[in-house]
């Protein structure tokens, strides 16, 4: 089957192999960057199908540029907020996506990343690695890079939904006292870990590690603010692998500078891809570029899902995860 396919951003080769096997050659954005809207419009022209990512805006202009022969935009992403689905449906273009529930290991990867941030801040790994590479180490010393114990301390989980629960359950081997803050009780955590549901203020005051896993909503925006940092222990570490705007980043910078808390591990930022200037100068912060799900396992399964659905639509078969299935019947 020879089809005219465009891939807007390089994805895991597990997905690209499927596209190649079923569609023959395909074109792909060769650069490690997001296409501009003009480039996107240019490249989708005349394609039978497009594999796009969640930071491409697929609107009427893009759909019209693709042309009437175009059958599918397969979105590499859980949501379809970047796509004008109604316009696609009108034009008979199927929209597929890669829902979280369909990607085994997706939430586990995020939970693992929260732990990776927690440990690298607690044991000052990034800072100590910079020192080691500078060649300045003159030998072991009893006071060098003293960090925080993890085993036996108190873990505070803000938001005990799917990911928050996985993060908490991962503390089992570390004999931690677990507190959580959520609107509803979480029997799993209470049963398996003896976790205790508390008010946010109590969690902040008593936890050695505070890790955030709430959704971004108007009422969770700046949920962690200047006042929260004052409530936290001065030895405590904050981890945010959820969404940037949940933490007031300016207030965090000040709290870290003043020593109101001991450290922070961040995977997300209020105004990505920028972060509060000044954070980059601090040794007691570890910053990663939104890597929650950045594992070979999770990303290869996402790429496979997106590619399989692209191929399915083009072959006239039923895609697994289509948000406008009424289009498929017409096709």
């Amino acid at each position: 089957m020879s089809m005219n396919i465009y891939v807007t951003h390089r994805i895991h080769e597990a997905g690209l192999k499927i596209v190649q096997a079923h569609c023959g050659a395909y074109d792909m954005n060769p650069d490690e960057r997001r296409l501009s809207q003009e480039e996107l419009i240019e490249h989708v022209r005349g394609r039978d199908g497009v594999l796009c990512i969640l930071n491409n805006r697929i609107d009427v202009v893009v759909l019209d540029a693709a042309g009437p022969q175009c059958k599918v935009f397969a979105n590499y992403g859980s949501g379809v907020g970047n796509i004008d689905v109604a316009a696609a449906t009108q034009r008979g273009v199927a929209i597929t996506h890669t829902p979280l529930e369909a990607v085994p290991g997706y939430n586990e990867a995020t939970a693992d990343h929260a732990w990776a941030l927690l440990f690298s801040v607690a044991r000052r790994i990034a800072e100590a690695d910079r020192f080691m590479r500078s060649g300045q180490w003159t030998g072991w010393g009893p006071m060098q890079f003293l960090g925080a114990d993890v085993t036996g301390r108190t873990l505070g989980v803000v938001g005990a939904g799917q990911i928050g629960t996985l993060v908490a359950m991962r503390s089992r081997g570390f004999d931690m006292n677990v507190l959580y803050f959520d609107k509803v009780p979480n029997p799993t955590l209470e049963k398996h870990l003896g976790a205790r549901r508390v008010e946010l203020n109590e969690l902040l005051a008593e936890s050695d590690f505070v890790t955030i896993h709430v959704k971004l909503l108007p009422e969770t925006t700046h949920l962690i603010n200047a006042e929260s940092f004052q409530r936290m222990k001065d030895t405590a570490i904050l981890v945010n692998a959820a969404r940037g705007p949940i933490v007031d980043e300016k207030a965090l910078l000040e709290a870290l500078q003043k020593g109101e808390i001991a450290g922070a591990g961040m995977d997300v930022y209020e105004n990505e891809p920028r972060f509060e200037p000044g954070l980059g100068k601090l040794d007691n912060v570890v910053m990663t570029p939104h890597l929650g799900v950045a594992t070979h396992g999770a990303r290869s399964r996402m790429a496979e899902l997106a590619a399989r659905d692209l191929v399915a639509v083009l072959k006239g078969e039923r895609p697994e995860h289509c948000v406008n299935p009424e289009v498929i019947k017409k096709q």
Binding site: E32, E108, H113, A116, A148, D149, G173, A294
Partner: protein, 334 residues
């Protein structure tokens, strides 16, 4: 009364390098004043010989070589060398015993901290924390991308423990929440790991071939020197990560550097080195290694506990009591 007590409690004590306050406070309370190396560095030989002269007791570190010359310099009144370390291979214990000098150490308090550190190295290497943090700080990030810094999954993978002693077992048990398959290599079976985790004891070659993460926890012995050499690294998966927080010479560092450069294995987390404080040149240029300066027990709480133990041992010996962690009790009889 007050006078008398002060006099009876006054001992001439030397501390070879600053340790956490928790320990120094005990020394001060029980011994009165003490002298201490004022600089945050190892004493050179002559300074050590000078520093110990005429002392009743010395609190020393793993980095001080304590031999017959040092005991001789200290003098016949010296009762104790309290080592601030889990080991005592820096001290000629036989010679100390012959002279009736008590030697103590600080065992048992650093198991969890050291096992935690092995996990910290595993996590930071698997999820490429150091490398991506360095990138973030350059200010070059232009936004999320599906292929940026892809790392290794941890949950559900296979953890291989080389040496299932105290620290190796602790490392293994901390995997519980991550639903890992655990393999271990040891000269003797570890019933606890088998029961608690369903861990399986295997030959080293099988462990190397099947593990996604290989964590080394054997003691340094002639037969464990270069236990992980070029051949061992070749047996590992290309996607595997090696963690060494035990002793540097257990891993052949040149071979490791080559394996990391050639992609024989995916990454390494190192806390110890063959020739500390020097790491094999070239390692510092690699992104697929995390390297830290021997921080196994480096937490505030652990180091405070070590300092307290060392100080309590010192004080007990000076008072003529049996110290809690005496490694040559026969010296007391002398």
């Amino acid at each position: 009364m007050e006078m008398e007590r002060k006099v009876s409690m006054s001992f001439n004590v030397y501390v070879t390098r600053r340790i956490p306050d928790a320990g120094l406070e005990i020394v001060e309370k029980h011994c009165g004043k003490y002298d201490m190396n004022p600089e945050d560095r190892v004493l050179v030989r002559d300074e050590l010989l000078e520093g110990v002269r005429g002392r009743d007791g010395v609190l020393c570190l793993l980095t001080d070589t304590i031999d017959a010359d040092v005991f001789e310099a200290a003098g016949p009144q010296c009762k104790v060398f309290a080592n601030y370390a889990v080991g005592s291979n820096n001290i000629d214990v036989e010679e100390a015993t012959r002279r009736g000098i008590v030697v103590t150490n600080t065992p048992g308090v650093l198991t969890d901290a050291t096992a935690d550190l092995a996990w910290a190295l595993l996590f930071s290497m698997a999820r490429r924390i150091v490398e991506s943090d360095k990138f973030m700080r350059t200010g070059k990030w232009t936004g999320w991308g599906p292929m940026q810094f892809l790392g290794a999954d941890i949950t559900g993978r296979t953890l291989g423990i080389v040496g299932a002693g105290r620290i190796g077992s602790a490392m293994a048990k901390k995997s519980r929440g991550f639903e890992m398959k655990v393999l271990y290599y040891d000269t003797v079976p570890n019933a606890e790991l088998e029961k608690a985790l369903g861990a399986r004891r295997v030959e080293l070659d099988e462990l190397l071939a099947e593990s996604d993460f290989v964590s080394v926890h054997v003691p340094l012995l002639p037969e464990t020197t270069h236990l992980i050499d070029a051949a061992a690294l070749k047996k590992m998966k290309k996607t595997a990560i090696l963690i060494n927080s035990s002793r540097g010479p257990v891993v052949e560092e040149k071979a490791l550097r080559e394996a990391l450069k050639n992609g024989t294995i995916a990454g390494a987390g190192l806390d110890v080195y063959e020739k500390e404080p020097i790491a094999e040149p070239g390692l510092e240029k690699l992104d697929n290694v995390v390297m830290i300066p021997h921080l196994g027990s480096a937490t505030k709480a652990t180091r405070s506990k070590m300092a307290e133990l060392a100080a309590n041992n010192l004080v007990a010996a000076l008072k003529g009591e049996t110290p809690p962690n005496c490694i040559n009790p026969e010296a007391l009889k002398a």
